[in-house]
């Protein structure tokens, strides 16, 4: 089935019962699918009047402990950033999909995009079967760490059809939702509060203590980043002269390009980051040991290359072999995603 449909099925399988979105290519089909798939399972899909409202509605649903998601394309994600930042400070779980156009939103995804000192884990599937798994994992992480989690896809992922069987994945016991609102604690003297300004009720003469709250959020962020094992696919790097780093759809093409180079006798290997945050720093550093060069391919002007340089710390030269590759639509359909073109660039990085 098509990626959008599979991702929607994966969300429903993960327990998602609330979705809100606003149409935008190439995200639109996910909204269509959620509108189709949620009502039969008792879920709600809202056709929000803007991305601002979509994320606001998802915020409200998330505050009730309902597994919720929203999404858009990078531009729409820009509109949502204020809420995503505050959702992290309100310690609310939410899955946010970015069906991006090309890969220009790496910094938006991994560097926050919004205000304040927060982090959102980012998962970048390379194809439909992996998206099915990672989307479900995103719900598990969001609920476990009470934090927004991003799934970073693209036009290819949304519109490619692959054979896939969506089954619910068991990630262990369901996380605690005793913090969630349903109205029932009203009048008890301990009525619940879900707020980006603090979780403590006013007592004596103290209002919201933002210092205390931000420190508590920082501790939660720290625990989350320590608790999430960075994920990456690493192959053929042990004897590699050139190690290529690429993620998402280009990561899939790089795998093929590296294998083709091996057949030509070029000692190439690759690291495909699956979590962009936390970044698989150690995997990249280990893979780079003994290599003559680390080549980074991204369909942008070079964003992840910063994280690769931070991982390698100058021990191996890092060469950027990516760059913008678009057709006239700007949706991210990339002429460069061709095994021969990529193979030549990888080999070129060695010379």
């Amino acid at each position: 089935m098509e990626g959008s449909e599979a991702i929607a099925e994966a969300m429903v399988a993960a327990g998602c019962r609330f979705f809100a979105g606003y149409p935008m290519t190439p995200f639109t089909e996910i909204l269509e699918q959620m509108a189709k798939q949620l009502p039969p399972v008792g879920g709600v899909c809202m056709n929000a009047e803007s991305e601002l409202e979509a994320v606001g509605m998802a915020w409200g649903a998330a505050a009730t402990g309902t597994p919720a998601a929203t999404g858009s394309t990078g531009q729409g994600l820009s509109l949502m950033q204020e809420s995503i930042a505050e959702l992290a400070m309100a310690r609310l779980p939410l899955v946010v999909l970015n069906m991006a156009r090309a890969q220009g939103d790496y910094w938006q995804a991994t560097r926050g995009g919004g205000h304040g000192d927060y982090r959102t884990p980012v998962l970048a599937p390379m194809d439909v079967p992996e998206a099915v798994e990672l989307t479900q994992r995103a719900f598990h992480w969001a609920a476990t760490w009470r934090n927004p989690v991003l799934v970073f896809g693209d036009y290819y992922l949304a519109h490619t059809s692959q054979s896939v069987d969506v089954q619910p994945i068991d990630f262990g016991p369901a996380p605690d939702v005793s913090w969630a609102l349903d109205g029932s604690s009203g009048g008890s003297g301990r009525a619940k509060l879900v707020s980006p300004l603090g979780t403590q009720k006013q007592r004596d003469d103290v209002g919201y203590d933002l210092s205390e709250h931000y420190l508590a959020c920082a501790a939660a962020t720290h625990a989350m980043l320590k608790g999430i094992e960075p994920m990456a696919e690493v192959a053929l790097c042990d004897d590699a002269d050139v190690v290529v780093v690429a993620y998402g759809t280009p990561g899939r093409y790089i795998r093929a390009a590296v294998k083709a180079l091996r057949e030509r006798g070029v000692k190439a290997g690759y690291v495909r980051p699956i979590t962009l945050l936390p970044f698989p720093t150690e995997a990249v550093a280990r893979a780079a040991e003994g290599a003559k060069v680390v080549a980074v391919y991204e369909n942008n002007q070079g964003q992840m290359v910063d994280d690769v340089r931070l991982a390698v710390l100058g021990r191996t030269p890092v060469s950027f072999i990516g760059g913008l590759s678009l057709d006239t639509s700007g949706f991210g359909i990339a002429p460069d995603l061709d095994v021969t073109i990529l193979g030549d660039r990888i080999a070129g990085a060695l010379s």
């Binding site: 609330f18 606001g56 209002g207």
Partner: protein, 263 residues
Amino acid sequence: MTDVPVRFVPTDKAPTRAARMVDDFTPALIEVGEHHLCPGCGEPIAMRSVLEVIAELDVVQRSIAVFGIGCYTAFSNNLDLEVCQALHGRAPSVATGIKRAKPNTVVVTVQGDGDMVNEGLQEVLHTAARGESVTCIMLNNGVFGETGGHLTATTVLGQRTKNTLDGRDAEQHGYPILISNLIAQLEGAAYVARGAVNTAGNVSRTKRMITRAFETQLERRGFSFVEILTMCPTGWFIETEEAPAYLDDNLAAVHVGGVLKDW
């Protein structure tokens, strides 16, 4: 000088009668009685009315309040009511998500004129148009009170604020938006009313409006909305005791009170 006997309470003796509280004016749903709003502010009166209605309708254990950002946010963490704090302008969307996810809850939003009519105009209009089964309360004092008295979308013509020093001038600053009148035109809005808290009579009338708004939600008739004109002597730069009359002469002269729509 006439010889008036000096009345004083001798402090070296215990009083003959122990002090007693005549009445506790704190509504049951407020956990901490003190707030940090200015003397003469109308928002605590409006909040009290909302809380009393929730208690009287016996929906305390089903209610979730969604707060915007303004002076009234002082009440978002001292209520014995479940609260979801929203961003500036976004409360109606958050309320939508709560209500749709948990249809048996009673959802009320509290926003000011800056929050709702400036930053969040689109959200409240669409929420009303969808006929969302929530109750939105808007505390309208015609200024950004929290920042110290600045122009909002409801500031009346001629009103002096910190960024309209010579008064709001239509040519330069445009005209005030009459939000209740706007919302009342939408099919999804079932109950729309504009009250005020500057006199005992108005407080009483406003409370009846709030009750009706909650009944609208409980009966699932559609979107319900109560705009409440509140005093802000600090943001109006007038004496506290002048504020109730100032409200009548200025704010209420443009934002005219009454029930605009009732199912």
